[in-house]
């Protein structure tokens, strides 16, 4: 064993050394946790791929309808967007009730026709319109205004286009809240936080190390998911790339501050998980990741709009899909910024190192 007295003190190489070391520790802890790498990088891509396949665009739907006479079936044969089958009256009613056909056409009085359908079902109303038009034309109606169709099936309005910004927002939330919150609570639980503050470590540098590692990981996270969307599904990127980068940066900071707030006092992993799910679950459901948040009742809309994930997802969609520039996203940016500032202030007030 070497002698203590023989060890000459050496001066430290440079002042920022500890911040670099702390940040490196963050990366090492992340890379050496395969589960974390999976949830941050692989999972969103798998989800996007799965949902993209399930909801891929198919040729326009053909509506199934029922008719009760061969004459009606013949009149409809030229209409491509409906498929007519001939039923007896009883069979036809049965099929209509079961939802196998959207409409049942029956002969009416004076050579007319009667449509039986559910007017609260959009398919029923559409079938009524298409079938009636086809029958009238077959009977010799001429439209006074000649009309032609020009079909547009453009990237930007498909489900996968809607989905990628949603998943990106959800991923920013998950990695921000989990990445910061879990690491801090784990260090507090292991009394490692206490040990660190017993050393001359700067507390600001400790928190900054989370910020820096988050920013670097963010770059890869966003590049992986957006790159996948563009490469595989041709998802558009209509605003300048730096604006998307800015949105992701601001969103990630905001969620990280929220993660810090959640982790400010909790001492157990169970407590942290519970609190994080309590915060994130409503946003997963309400913030419009997988379907439009407009579907929820109007009374809820102010609350939904005030949620950080809603603002993030709306801003990302506006930027990527509609090409909205930052000034047009002012209200979303304001919501994200308010969450960032408030969470950070409260987190600093509440934070306990022990």
């Amino acid at each position: 064993m070497s002698d203590f007295a023989a060890i000459a003190p050496r001066t430290q190489a440079f002042a920022g050394r500890s911040l670099v070391e702390l940040t490196l520790v963050r990366f090492r802890e992340f890379w050496r946790e395969p589960e974390a790498v999976f949830w941050v990088f692989i999972f969103p891509i798998l989800l996007a791929a799965g949902l993209g396949l399930a909801f891929r665009n198919r040729p326009a739907d053909v509506l199934n309808i029922g008719v009760s006479t061969p004459e009606l079936a013949r009149s409809l044969a030229s209409e491509k967007s409906v498929a007519a089958r001939t039923f007896t009256l009883a069979e036809g009613e049965q099929a209509l009730r079961a939802g196998r056909i959207a409409l049942l056409a029956l002969p009416g009085a004076n050579g007319g026709v009667v449509y039986r359908y559910d007017d609260t079902n959009p398919e029923g109303r559409l079938a009524r319109f298409l079938v009636d038009q086809a029958l009238q034309r077959a009977a010799g109606r001429r439209d006074p205004v000649p009309a032609g169709d020009e079909l547009v099936r453009e990237p930007g309005s498909r489900y996968i286009d809607f989905l990628i910004p949603g998943l990106l927002g959800m991923n920013l939330m998950g990695s921000g809240i989990w990445g910061i919150g879990f690491a801090i609570v784990d260090a507090r639980r292991k009394k490692l936080l206490k040990r660190l503050i017993a050393s001359p470590m700067s507390r600001a540098e400790y928190l900054l190390s989370f910020l820096f590692s988050r920013l670097v990981l963010l770059l890869f996270e966003v590049a992986a998911l957006v790159g996948f969307g563009i490469w595989v599904f041709g998802v558009p990127l209509r605003a300048p790339l730096w604006e998307l980068a800015f949105l992701c940066l601001l969103s990630s900071l905001s969620f990280s501050a929220l993660g810090l707030l959640i982790a400010s006092r909790v001492r157990t992993i169970e407590g942290a998980s519970g609190l994080m799910n309590f915060v994130m679950l409503p946003m997963w459901v309400l913030s419009g990741v997988f379907f439009s948040a407009q579907r929820f009742p109007d009374v809820l809309q102010p609350f939904i709009k005030a949620m950080p994930l809603t603002a993030v997802v709306d801003a990302l969609r506006g930027s990527m899909l509609q090409g909205a520039r930052l000034p047009h996203l002012a209200s979303e940016l304001a919501v994200i910024a308010v969450w960032l500032v408030l969470s950070f202030i409260f987190a600093l007030k509440l934070f306990r190192w022990r």
């Binding site: 203590f4 007295a5 430290q12 490196l24 520790v25 050496r32 292991k190 009394k191």
Partner: protein
């Protein structure tokens, strides 16, 4: 007064700390000089860790004064952190980092100190330098914690139960390390409930019970203070005639007699005179002897004689 404080590595006066309705520290004074190792010895819950954490600047005392190298936590926290080495009870260092990465991290917090590899050599973990912390044994983890405490070349080292839960070999290895550290005017304050550890490492021992120091001094003096250097323990196989306590205390060289769970315990100054006298007396009164043991008095015996309880009474 200022002069006195500067000579001390640690000076504590009238320290008090209560948690809700439990008083953890009830008016405690400590002095530690450079080059000295002070042991805080006491049972669990005596207030050792609370005292240490206040000295380490991790807890605020309710009352009292704490000065390290003549500086206080309120005015010189930054400087003090640079000059202290601290090992806490129950710290779990990050399991995913390697030994070397952990030491390098702690090294980066200090202005001065030895190189990372040197500290790793010092705690004899060179073969494990690239191993993950999670794969280390208990003793190796404890030596790594020691490396993190030593990495800033501290003037004062706080160790909270450094060897608790270690096997005897790992414990001895750590003792060598601690003993080695004292050279060169550095001071150590350690808590323990192993009397052997205190006797072996500490220049002075403060015995703490219920938040108060009940005895203080070099281990030998404390042991001598109970007036006896040897302990004689014997039992008599139960009911068939017990020896008279009065009689026992009058035997040659006996200072004190205690009975615990049917075992008689005599504090004696001279074994070679007391033991024959005891055997004679037992023989004379026809009491059978089923067990007879002697050992040199230890700090444990000091604690027992002061409080009537054992150090590890859990």
């Amino acid at each position: 007064m200022g002069n006195l404080a500067e000579q001390h590595s640690l000076l504590v006066r009238g320290l008090r700390k209560a948690y809700k309705d439990v008083t953890a520290v009830a008016g405690l004074d400590l002095d530690v000089c450079p080059g000295e190792c002070l042991g805080l010895l006491g049972p669990n819950g005596a207030g050792k860790t609370t005292t240490l954490e206040i000295c380490e600047g991790l807890l605020e005392p309710d009352a009292g004064r704490v000065e390290l190298f003549g500086l206080s936590w309120n005015s010189h926290a930054r400087e003090l952190r640079q000059r202290l080495g601290i090992q806490l009870q129950e710290t779990q260092l990050s399991e995913k980092l390697t030994v070397e990465e952990t030491v390098r991290l702690f090294r980066s917090f200090y202005r001065n100190g030895p190189a990372v590899a040197e500290v790793i050599d010092l705690v004899e973990l060179q073969e494990k330098h690239a191993a993950r912390v999670g794969s280390l044994s208990g003793g190796q983890k404890q030596r790594l914690a020691m490396a993190c405490a030593l990495v800033g070349e501290p003037d004062l080292l706080f160790l909270d139960e450094p060897t608790t839960g270690l096997d005897p070999q790992a414990r001895r290895q750590l003792w060598d390390l601690i003993a080695n550290f004292k050279t060169g005017g550095r001071a150590i304050v350690l808590t323990t409930h192993y009397m052997e550890e205190a006797e072996r490492l500490c220049d002075r021992v403060a015995i703490i019970d219920h938040g108060l120091i009940i005895a203080q001094g070099p281990p030998r003096e404390l042991i001598a203070s109970i007036g006896a250097v040897h302990m004689v323990e014997f039992s008599t196989g139960g009911a068939s005639g017990t020896p008279d306590l009065e009689c026992l205390s009058k035997l040659d060289g006996v200072h004190h007699v205690r009975v615990e769970n049917g075992t008689f315990q005599l504090q004696v100054s001279e074994l070679h005179r007391t033991v024959p006298a005891l055997l004679d007396a037992l023989d004379h009164s026809g009491v059978p002897l089923t067990e007879l043991r002697t050992h040199s008095a230890t700090l444990e015996d000091v604690f027992v004689s002061l409080t009537g309880r054992h150090l590890r009474d859990e």
